[in-house]
C-alpha cells in the first residue's frame, strides 16, 4: 500500500525571522509515483528543499494543497494531523547528524517511534532493525552518538528516520560531505531498503552521477517551479536543455557524447553508467 503524494497548485512562502522569501514554490502541481525513487535536481535556491518540506507539512502551502494518502495539508491543517502525516513520511535533513541528541545511539533511533506512539519494547526492536538496515553493528546501540565517526553519525541519523517505518522517505542531500565510497555505500543502502520494502524515495541532490545511477524519475526545479518531471533517461538525451537548466551530465554520458562527436559513430541509446556504455560500444563493434 504505497502512499501517493499529490501537489495541486501549491504556492509557499518561506519565513525565517523577519525575512520573508516569497514564492519559494510557485504554483507547483505534481503527482509522485508511489514506490519509485525520484531525484530532485536544480540550481541552488530553486526550491528543492522547500518541495521536500511541503511534502512533510514542515512548510505549509499558502495556496493550493498537498494530498498525502487520504490526508490533505493546506493552510488550515492542525498540528495533530500533521503528526499522523509525519508518521508515514520520514524526512532526512541536510547533515542529519546535527540532530543527534540522546545519550545512546539506541535511544536516539527510538526517539521517532516513541513519539509516534509505539511502546518501549517495540521501539527497541525497530531501532535494532533500522541499525541493521543502514549497515551498522548492534554493538554501537549503547554508545554515545557523539563518540561516532562522521559517516557513522550520518547513518545513525538516517536509521532514526527509518525506525518509524515510514511509507515515503524524503532526503535532502543525503550524501553531502561524504567521500565517494561513502556516498555510493549510502545510496546502495537506501536502494536496498527501497527494493526490499517497496517504499517511495524522494531525494534532493546536486550529483548527476547518483541521479543517473539510483533514480528512476527526476524532477527538475527552476525558480520555484517544476520544469521537468519524468524518467531519468529522457532527461539526459537533450543536452541543450540541460545546459539551460545548468545541470551537469553523468560521466558515462559525457564520454558517449565526446566519443560520438570525434568518431562519428552513433551509439544506439543513451548511456548513463559505465556498464551501459561498455555494452553499447561492444554492440556497435568498436571494442
Amino acid at each position: 500500500m504505497a502512499m501517493q503524494i499529490k501537489l495541486e497548485h501549491v504556492t509557499a512562502n518561506y519565513k525565517i525571522g523577519p525575512l520573508l522569501k516569497p514564492r519559494v514554490l510557485d504554483d507547483v502541481s505534481l503527482t509522485l509515483n508511489p514506490g519509485r525513487i525520484t531525484a530532485v535536481v536544480g540550481s541552488t535556491g530553486a526550491g528543492k528543499s522547500s518541495l521536500l518540506k511541503v511534502c512533510n507539512g514542515l512548510l505549509i502551502p499558502s495556496e493550493g494543497h498537498v494530498t498525502i494518502g487520504s490526508k490533505e495539508i493546506n493552510s488550515k491543517t492542525s498540528k495533530q494531523s500533521l503528526k499522523t502525516i509525519r508518521k508515514h513520511i520520514g524526512m532526512v535533513f541536510q547533515f542529519p547528524e546535527s540532530q543527534l541528541f540522546a545519550e545512546t545511539v539506541g535511544e536516539d533511533i527510538a526517539f521517532g517511534p516513541l513519539n509516534f506512539g509505539t511502546d518501549q519494547r517495540r521501539a527497541e526492536q525497530l531501532a535494532r532493525k533500522a541499525l541493521q538496515q543502514v549497515g551498522l553493528d548492534e554493538s554501537i546501540l549503547s554508545k554515545s552518538p557523539f563518540s561516532l565517526s562522521g559517516g557513522q553519525k550520518r547513518r545513525v541519523a538516517i536509521a532514526g528516520v527509518l525506525a518509524s517505518e515510514p511509507e515515503v522517505i524524503l532526503l535532502d542531500e543525503p550524501t553531502a560531505g561524504l567521500d565517494p565510497a561513502g556516498r555510493k555505500e549510502l545510496l546502495t543502502l537506501l536502494k536496498r531498503w527501497h527494493d526490499e520494502e517497496g517504499k517511495t524515495i524522494l531525494f534532493v541532490t546536486h550529483d548527476m552521477e547518483s541521479t543517473a545511477r539510483f533514480a528512476e524519475d527526476v524532477i527538475v526545479m527552476e525558480n520555484g517551479s517544476v520544469v521537468y518531471h519524468d524518467a531519468v533517461r529522457p532527461l539526459f538525451e537533450n543536452t541543450r536543455q540541460l545546459k539551460e537548466w545548468q545541470l551537469d551530465l553523468p560521466e558515462a554520458r559525457r564520454f558517449q557524447l565526446g566519443f560520438e562527436a570525434q568518431s562519428g559513430i552513433h551509439l544506439p541509446h543513451v548511456c548513463l553508467t559505465e556498464k551501459e556504455l561498455m555494452d553499447a560500444l561492444i554492440e556497435v563493434g568498436c571494442v
Partner: protein
C-alpha cells in the same frame, strides 16, 4: 522567538541612530542611576517625559517598545503588587492580616513601576538604534581605562562581538534542528510544563554540541590567521565623537540637575 525585541537592531536614520555608541551607552547607564533620584511627583513626570521623548526621537513606533515590555510583564506585576500590598504608612484603606492597602504603598508602587518601565524603554531605545557591533565597540572604548588594572578588556570585547556575530547562525540552526525533530514526531509547546521542558532537550543538546564544535573550529581559524590576544589591536571602524554627542551628555546632566532640584524643593 521572532518576537524578542531586546537586543535587536532596527535600521533607521534618526537623531538617536546617528549618536556615537559611547554617548548612548553612557546616557543609558546614567539614566538607570538617575531614575533612583526621582523621589517626588515632579521627578516622576520628568522621567516619563524623558523616556517618551527619547522613544519619539528614534522614529520607531511605540508599539515596538511595548512589545519589548511584554516578556517582563510578570516580573513588573509581581514587584508592583509586592509594593502595594506589603508597604505600610500614610492612610490605611484596607487590611487583611499582613496584607494592607495604604496610600504610601500605592505611591511606592507607582515609583517602582515608573523606574522599571522607563529604564526598559530607554535601554531598549539604545539597543534598537545601535548596531550590535557598534555597541561592542562603544563598550570596548568605555572600558579601555580598566586595562590599567590588567583586566582583559580586549578579550571581553572580542568575546562579546563573536557572541553577537553568531546569534543569527544559532537562530538558523535552532530552526533546522526543530524541523528535524518535528519530522521525527516531536511536538513543541504542548502538554504539561514538564513535558514542554522535556521536549526542549532534543533541541538544546544538538545546539550545544554544534556550538562547541563551531567554537573549536573558530578558535583554530583564528590561530591560523595569527590572532594573538596579547598584541595591541587596531580597529577598522573608528568611532567619531560629534557635537551632538556632547549635547546628549549635557542633556543628561540637565536631567540630573533638575531631579536634584526637585528633591531639594520637595
Amino acid at each position: 522567538m521572532n518576537r524578542l525585541i531586546l537586543g535587536r537592531y532596527f535600521p533607521g536614520d534618526s537623531v538617536i541612530h546617528r549618536r556615537d555608541p559611547r554617548a548612548k551607552i553612557l546616557c543609558g547607564a546614567a539614566f538607570i542611576f538617575i531614575s533612583f533620584l526621582a523621589k517626588n511627583m515632579e521627578g516622576l513626570i520628568l522621567l516619563w517625559m524623558f523616556a517618551f521623548g527619547i522613544m519619539f526621537f528614534t522614529k520607531i513606533s511605540f508599539r515596538t517598545y511595548f512589545r519589548g515590555l511584554r516578556p517582563l510583564f510578570w516580573l513588573i506585576l509581581f514587584t508592583v503588587c509586592l509594593q502595594i500590598l506589603f508597604t505600610s504608612g500614610g492612610t490605611l484603606y484596607w487590611r487583611f492580616g499582613p496584607i494592607k492597602l495604604s496610600s504610601f504603598g500605592i505611591v511606592q508602587a507607582l515609583f517602582i513601576f515608573t523606574r522599571f518601565v522607563t529604564i526598559i524603554f530607554v535601554t531598549t531605545a539604545v539597543t534598537l538604534t545601535t548596531k550590535p557591533m557598534d555597541l561592542t565597540d562603544g563598550l570596548h572604548a568605555l572600558l579601555r581605562p580598566l586595562r590599567l588594572f590588567h583586566l582583559p578588556v580586549d578579550e571581553w570585547s572580542m568575546m562579546l562581538s563573536i557572541a553577537l556575530r553568531f546569534i543569527p547562525n544559532l537562530l538558523d540552526e535552532t530552526q533546522r534542528v526543530m524541523d528535524a525533530q518535528s519530522a521525527r514526531g516531536a511536538v513543541f509547546g504542548e502538554g504539561s510544563l514538564f513535558q514542554q521542558m522535556k521536549a526542549l532537550v532534543p533541541i538544546f543538546l544538538p545546539l550545544f554540541a554544534g556550538s562547541l564544535a563551531r567554537g573549536e573550529e573558530l578558535a583554530n581559524v583564528m590561530d591560523v590567521r595569527g590572532y594573538r590576544s596579547e598584541l595591541p589591536r587596531s580597529s577598522f571602524r573608528r568611532l567619531k565623537w560629534t557635537f551632538g554627542d556632547t549635547c546628549c551628555l549635557l542633556i543628561m546632566c540637565l536631567l540630573i540637575v533638575a531631579l536634584a532640584a526637585f528633591n531639594l524643593n520637595g
